[in-house]
């Protein structure tokens, strides 16, 4: 059988000016990596068409062991309380192989 390990996948949709902050959160909270995709969209802060530097979104993924989830969510809630436009959700995923996601980034 395949070693499918249960982990948490945190997905954040936000403006790309926050990219560095999100990377710092992932790094400081012991994630083993992160993934970023370009996105567009609309929400409470209007349309983000992606045509200007100030109106592009990113979709940011971090896979984490369950015990490191709370720290990341704390940091994200702090950003949200400062009124940064963040869409955050957590899903359960079964990760293939090993303890890869346990080793924090260098």
């Amino acid at each position: 059988m395949h070693r499918l390990v249960p982990e948490k996948l945190v997905t954040i949709i936000s403006t790309d000016v926050l990219e560095e902050r999100l990377v710092a959160i992932a790094r400081n909270r012991g994630a083993s990596g992160y993934t970023i995709l370009r996105a567009r969209g609309a929400g409470s802060s209007g349309e983000q068409s992606g045509m200007l530097d100030a109106d592009a979104n990113i979709k940011f993924h971090v896979i984490l062991p369950t015990d490191r989830l709370a720290g990341v969510l704390d940091d994200l809630e702090r950003l949200m309380s400062k009124r940064y436009p963040l869409t955050v959700f957590v899903s359960d995923v079964a990760v293939l192989g090993s303890d890869k996601f346990d080793k924090p980034m260098g």
Binding site: L52, A54, D55
Partner: protein, 334 residues
């Protein structure tokens, strides 16, 4: 030269075509990175060109221009903030963010003005270009200061003392100021100017076909795309409301008049140069300042400042403002 003539410059016509393309709801989709690439090219080209000329210009006059640019960059957002608070349509945080845009400048508007002057055969000095490069940063700094001060006022109003948590902490302050000084557009423009000034003239000549000859065509394409973006924002003007729209039309007039005063009396420029300084005063940034405000003033709504700067003030300046400031410059100087 009448305003109608202005409308017959290809650059302005392409801007209008972009607006129309969006208004008739055409399905034309431009690649999202095209405008960014074109604006990198435009900043590099005007930087090199201006630096090349400044390398041959008077140092004292250049310093003078820089000093006045900084003064404008600090004063205009304060005036904008005052005006906005008078309208009573936005809260302090939105007022601070919007005001910062009007203290800064729009390279697209500036270049359209250059196309206008070229087309009319009017000469202009190189100093306004260095002002363009300098004016982004002070306005961003003032925006941050206004926002932080407003944050404290709000905290006091909310019944408590200004808590440390409400303003940016010391470390954040440094990072925000850093942001203002190392803004991408500023670095590219000032860097290109420096390269244009210190490069050997022979090696600069090899660059001229790239930075000069295809310049006008690239500008047309850029303005076409910006026309489409302006029209996208224009549609949101109802969300913004009539009073704010009025601000987006009055503020450039205020900035333009102040710019004419600075260009003529303080800097002693000719009609072309004075018109350009007026355009600097009148225009609002929609490339460099918005990301800085999104990061530093998250409480402000980006639809407000983007709609005003890009959807209202930019088209106003391109179509009406530029010929108007030119006429004013003629009046004042003759």
């Amino acid at each position: 030269m009448s305003a109608l003539n202005n409308l017959l410059i290809p650059a302005v016509l392409f801007f209008a075509l972009g607006v129309i393309t969006r208004l008739i709801k055409s399905d034309l989709r431009l690649p999202p990175d095209l405008a960014k690439m074109l604006s990198i090219y435009l900043l590099m080209a005007i930087g090199l060109h201006g630096g090349y000329e400044l390398g041959r210009a008077d140092l004292g006059a250049a310093f003078n221009a820089v000093a006045w640019a900084i003064a404008l960059g600090f004063t205009l957002p304060l005036m904008g903030y005052g005006l906005l608070m008078l309208t009573r349509r936005v809260d302090r945080m939105n007022a601070a963010a919007i005001a910062a845009h009007y203290g800064s400048v729009s390279a697209g508007t500036f270049l359209t003005a250059i196309a206008y002057l070229d087309n009319a055969g009017i000469a202009y000095e190189a100093y306004p270009l260095i002002m363009l490069a300098v004016m982004e940063s002070p306005a961003i700094v003032v925006g941050l200061l206004l926002a932080s001060w407003s944050r404290q006022r709000l905290a006091v109003q909310d019944g408590g003392v200004a808590s440390i948590d409400n303003g940016p902490a010391n470390g954040q302050w440094r990072s925000l100021l850093h942001e203002a000084m190392t803004n991408g557009s500023v670095v590219l423009l000032i860097g290109s100017m420096a390269i244009g000034a210190i490069s050997a003239p022979a090696s600069m000549e090899k660059l001229f076909p790239f930075i000069d000859e295809i310049f006008m065509g690239v500008l047309c394409l850029f303005l076409f795309e910006m026309g489409m973006e302006a029209a996208r924002r224009l549609r949101e003007f109802r969300r913004v409301g009539a009073v704010l729209v009025a601000f987006g039309l009055v503020m450039p007039l205020v900035g333009g008049v102040i710019g004419i005063a600075v260009g003529h009396w303080a800097l002693g420029l000719g009609i072309g140069g004075t018109t350009l300084v007026a355009v600097l005063g009148a225009s609002a940034s929609y490339i460099a300042v918005p990301p800085a405000m999104r990061l530093a003033v998250p409480e402000a709504n980006p639809s407000f400042y983007l709609t005003l700067a890009l959807g209202i003030t930019f088209p106003f300046n391109v179509v009406i403002g530029i010929p108007l400031y030119h006429h004013l410059a003629v009046l004042v100087i003759n």
